[in-house]
């Protein structure tokens, strides 16, 4: 058995999700190849070669892969697929975009967002917004799988393994990259942060999110938001934690002014410790919080910042 892991990278750097997907891959096989598809990605390949468990790194460096569009990347993965029994990618927006295209081109059923590996054919995955956990067994001879990175620990490091390049005929006449609007932030990435502090509709407006800055700085935390806060236009949507946003599982999750709708809980209920600050004692968030504080967030946040 051999696993192909598609590396997740952005702006010339390997993203932390990859080391977590490799952890999942290591539970399937000890023969793990990482594919780095992109343009000018030598540094990414080097970082990937140093992740424990990786046996080989292959690089497909070509302008057509620069923005990792599904049309070209999927064709590339299909070219390489013959040598692997499992093809894994992170359940990020990039992985979710590309992998089902790969699966269909190979005529395989895909298993999405696994949270556990039982054996090489059997996996656990959440369904119904995380309200149920399904154990599924694939009868495909080649498994196409996306991995919920937050459910796996990051693999450690090793001495770098060999990096080879691969020529690909993949092209893309179907779609073209136009532009990207990156949300700038100096804080850790939401998916990887050890601490996350999120604001909800209770924050009342976008300016009040600044109240979370001082606390986030002191805790080295990323700042998230509920769907309600995003929909109200308080903050951009890539800060959204939930079923339709990002799925996080930090050591500490602080929910401020968030009621705790199913859609939000699906994105954070696997956090190690959950703290809820809300003035409504009946808010559903208190049913999952380890520590709850029933108080007005505008009184409490400055106090909390000072106490840290």
């Amino acid at each position: 058995m051999s696993v192909l892991v598609i590396a997740e990278h952005e702006q010339g750097a390997l993203k932390p999700e990859t080391a977590k997907v490799i952890n999942a891959a290591a539970k399937i096989s000890d023969n793990i190849t990482v594919l780095v598809a992109g343009h000018s990605v030598a540094t990414v390949a080097e970082s990937a070669s140093k992740i424990a468990g990786v046996t080989a790194v292959i690089v497909a460096d070509k302008p057509v892969f620069e923005h990792q569009l599904a049309e070209s990347t999927a064709d590339l993965v299909v070219e390489l697929a013959a040598d692997y029994s499992h093809i894994l990618a992170s359940a990020s927006t990039t992985g979710k975009n590309t992998l089902p295209r790969v699966a269909a081109l190979l005529d395989k059923s895909q298993i999405s967002e696994i949270i556990d590996v039982i054996d090489a054919d059997t996996f656990k995955r959440p369904i119904y917004a995380g309200n149920a956990i399904a154990t599924v067994k694939s009868s495909e001879d080649k498994k196409i799988i996306t991995v919920r990175a937050s459910a796996f620990d990051a693999q450690g490091e090793q001495a770098a393994v060999a990096i080879s390049t691969v020529e690909s005929a993949a092209d893309n006449t179907l779609s073209e990259f136009v532009s990207v609007e990156q949300t700038e932030s100096e804080r850790p990435e939401l998916n990887a942060a050890p601490v996350v502090i999120s604001g909800g509709r209770g924050m009342q407006n976008g300016e009040n999110f600044a109240l979370l800055n001082g606390i986030a700085d002191k805790l080295g935390a990323a700042i998230g938001a509920s769907r309600a806060a995003v929909d109200a236009g308080f903050v951009p949507n890539d800060m959204q934690v939930g079923q339709t946003g990002k799925i996080v599982a930090p050591d500490l999750y602080i929910a401020v002014g968030i009621s705790g709708a199913i859609q939000h809980l699906a994105g954070m209920k696997d956090s190690k410790v959950i703290v809820a600050i809300n003035k409504d004692p009946d808010a559903p968030i208190f049913q999952v919080a380890d520590y709850g504080l029933v108080a007005d967030l505008f009184d409490v946040l400055p106090e909390l910042e000072n106490a840290l």
């Binding site: 009868s139 990207v180 890539d238």
Partner: protein, 250 residues
């Protein structure tokens, strides 16, 4: 331009799914069902394209037993011109759905297929991408903005780092994110009118797609319950507990 909108009948998003006592699946008996929220957004977008004079015909399609005609009637009441039910009571995986839809795309030749990005029951997020692959079309997934002009679709996508815009050659497949639009409600007169709109039924077997299962559902369980927490009195107690008891901050 013809637009095809596949929709799915799923558990209502307000209902908390219950696992069957024998752990065989989620219990859907006597549970309120509705159109998948992402599919509603797809229908709305198609109708807006029609209102803008870009789309000439909107066809809604659903795959399932007779019950999914209810959701197709809803799509017709919202403004779709005709509906197609692909009739089957087999439990399908995304690859099967994508294959059935690809047959319909061959027949109907829509320039644009708009689907929801995922259904809120199986949470797969696969069908649109698979359909694009099977029909050799470009794909614009997780769309929060769609502009059709000059044989292209300019799609703004919600990606992890922010927003990405791609230009797709038509014909294309687009999947909707929640922020694409605010779906309208069907008015009573439109609901009445929808009853007279055409709804064709095609037997899934007649489309020549192998629907044999490829994934076996071994077990469905409740997720691990979190222990009930405690309510602290003030900030000082909270910080103290986090430092000494939970040891998550120093």
């Amino acid at each position: 331009m013809k637009v095809l909108v596949p929709i799915k009948r799923v558990i209502d998003y307000n209902v908390k799914a219950r696992v069957k006592p024998d752990n065989s699946d989620v219990d859907l008996t006597n549970v309120k069902m509705a159109m998948n929220p992402f599919c509603e957004i797809a229908v709305e977008e198609a109708i807006r394209l029609k209102e803008a004079g870009i789309a000439t015909e909107v066809i809604a399609v659903s795959i399932g037993d007779k019950a999914c005609q209810e959701q197709l009637r809803t799509a017709l009441a919202l403004g779709a011109d005709k509906a197609i039910q692909i009739d089957t009571d087999t439990k399908l995986e995304s690859i099967h759905v994508a294959k059935l839809l690809s047959k319909l795309v061959e027949q109907e030749q829509p320039e644009l297929v708009i689907l929801g990005k995922q259904s809120i029951d199986s949470d797969n997020n696969q069908t649109g991408q698979m359909l694009a692959a099977l029909t050799g079309r470009s794909q614009g997934t997780f769309a929060s903005k769609v502009v059709v002009e000059g044989g292209k679709a300019l799609v703004t996508r919600e990606v992890d780092g922010g927003l990405q815009t791609v230009s797709l050659s038509l014909p294309a497949v687009v999947t909707t994110d929640l922020r694409l639009n605010e779906p309208r409600y069907a008015s009573l007169p439109n609901i009445m009118k929808a009853k007279r709109k055409p709804l064709d039924v095609i037997a899934a077997d007649s489309l020549g797609v192998d629907l044999a299962p490829r994934t076996e559902l071994l077990k469905v369980e409740e997720p691990a319950k979190r222990e009930a927490g405690i309510i602290v009195e003030d900030v000082a107690e909270l910080v103290n507990k986090l430092k000494t008891e939970a040891k998550v901050i120093s």
